[in-house]
Symmetry: C2
Subunit: 142 residues, 2 copies
DNA sequence: TATTAGTCTATTAATTCAATAGACTTTGTA
DNA sequence: TACAAAGTCTATTGAATTAATAGACTAATA
């Protein structure tokens, strides 16, 4: 299961992606519309800003808006930002790799082989799942 | 990431699946060989027994052994037993379903659509990953 | 210059995960 | 038949992570 943080982040991003380009949206508006505790959301949006996905404007008339194109923001990146690795085992992650204590030879580990396959498929699907794709699916499916 | 409990369970199961049929193996032997805290392992094996995957024999000469065929024990079942749902969102699980508060229509939710796809692919792969398959992969890959 | 709105740091509450302790029951065998 | 081996069961504890909150600070606009 993804954390609430990630879930909130995705909801907020989709919400922003549906708004006109560069138009600052109040944190409070997002929080209310998406049922997210405002203070919690503030931290999330700040993370997304640090990562270059969002930008913000301070003061009156300020708020957050999408900096990257909806085509360039995918679920794999968002999940990694908040929850860390997508892989189910430490020995099949790229950035957070950790060897199994009891493992003598990874290349001949059947368990690793299975979970590597799962990871690769999952990452592939999540990379394709951009904000643009999510919005498109929401419109087309009925 | 799967929990250590699940990881330990898988390691123990693979270990047992490599042993002769019906031969009771000591908890202590598994614990030592797989680097698992013995008391922790006891609880895990008990769960696997309650679920009908393992059987045990008490007293001297006792221990645990595989009850189901290695072909009938898959990673999806084991993961669900210890970690719960495989899905990444509560609204795409079968047994642990929970509606999203802010969601008005699931069928038109692009987010749900993406994560449903991920879940289905993952479950499919994990169902194919039986103990027999894992052992086979461990032998063939070099 | 007052008000609005994002920024930052710290703290707390709640939950889950991992591990441990110890008493109890069953069973084989000397 | 008594002892020792080995699994069973319940409870508890400690650690880590997740979720949420509080409040002071900074920047920008009218």
């Amino acid at each position: 299961m993804i954390s609430k943080k990630t879930k909130y982040a995705i909801n907020a991003l989709v919400y922003l992606a549906k708004k006109p380009l560069q138009q600052p949206i109040l944190i409070s508006e997002i929080a209310e519309h998406e049922h997210i505790p405002q203070k919690f959301l503030e931290a999330i949006l700040l993370n997304l800003k640090k990562d270059g996905i969002l930008a913000s404007k301070k003061g009156k008339g300020g708020g957050y808006f999408l900096l990257k194109s909806p085509n360039d923001v995918n679920m794999a990146d968002v999940m990694r930002l908040f929850d860390g690795p997508i892989a189910l085992l430490p020995c099949v992650t790229y950035k957070y790799y950790q060897k199994c204590e009891e493992c003598t030879d990874e290349d001949s580990c059947g368990i690793r082989s299975v979970f590597l396959e799962v990871r690769n498929h999952t990452v592939e699907l999540l990379k394709k799942a951009t904000l643009a794709e999510i919005i498109k699916r929401g419109e087309s499916v009925h």
